[in-house]
Amino acid sequence: MVAHTDETVAPPTFYHQDEDHYHAGGGTVLGFWIYLMSDALIFATLFATFGVLSSSFAGGPMPHELFDLRVVAVNTAVLLVSALTCGLSMIALQAGRLGQVRLWLLVTALLGVAFVGIELYEFRHMIAEGATPQRSAYLSAFFTLVGTHGLHVTLGVVWIAVMMVQLRQRGLHAENHRRMLCLSMFWHFLDVIWIGVFTFVYLLGVL
């Protein structure tokens, strides 16, 4: 107690001192994570809406008449493999191999395009059968939920395209590291949301 009255005792610090120890993108990555969590809340409201309206068919088509689970299984596989290729590009990023980063990003983008393409094919098939969003509250909720996820994947593909240009122009510098980190989080987040979609919309709908 007596020793603490000494003038030479350093004043207490209530902040993180060794900031330089942290990587430059730390704040951005955490901020982007918060954005993803808010995006999860958007999907939560869409899932809740879908759940509430999941039996409001209004005499229209029912899930087991609408969905071909084989198509959904293929789409799920495509998105899951794209998550792995996205991960492989992050591994290559850590190893500093620019060529591999771009190769795996390209594969991820192509799988993303395939996913959106299969989904649009499914939508077109449904609409051709008269299962449009206007047909029933169930179908409105279905197209809103699945369409919002598809829109996210589409924007993810656009982001990958922009990332490819940035990597080509500037290579693997600190900013591109940070961007890649955010991009991979976005892509994996969409795969997590898709687990909810294929389970609650397709599997439980058909069951």
Partner: protein, 119 residues
């Protein structure tokens, strides 16, 4: 230098984490689709199992792909994630609970309508 400067201790990804996560996720997905497509179980048991598989897979992918753990960002990603999970459960569970009761209390006619029965 690049590794330390940009990856951070908890953001260090290994091929093994990704491959393990991918294989486990693929198996969980395949089992869920098999349960629904081959119908080895009755409705309620199958539905419970499919939901359990989905929850497991969400946890697996969050850990192995999104790298959420107690060390990343000093635990703030995990804190935000757990908080979001609570909000998601309240939003979805609360909506279903309230709306189901509204349906059964306010519109009894709808519940006897064969078209409004869940398949």
């Amino acid at each position: 230098m690049a590794e330390h400067a940009h990856s951070g201790e908890a953001n260090h990804f290994t091929l093994r984490t990704y491959l393990t996560g991918f294989i486990v996720a693929a198996v969980l997905t395949a089992v869920a689709f098999w349960i629904v497509m081959a119908r080895p179980l009755s409705g309620a048991v199958a539905a419970t199992l499919v939901v359990a598989l989905a929850v497991t897979q969400i946890v697996v992918q969050t850990y192995s792909f999104l790298h959420v753990n107690s060390r990343a960002q000093e635990g703030w990603t995990l804190t935000a994630y757990v908080f979001t999970c609570v909000l998601v459960l309240i939003a979805i569970g609360g909506s279903l609970w309230i709306m189901f009761h509204l349906n059964s209390n306010m519109m009894p006619g709808m519940m006897s309508d064969p078209m409004s029965q869940a398949p």
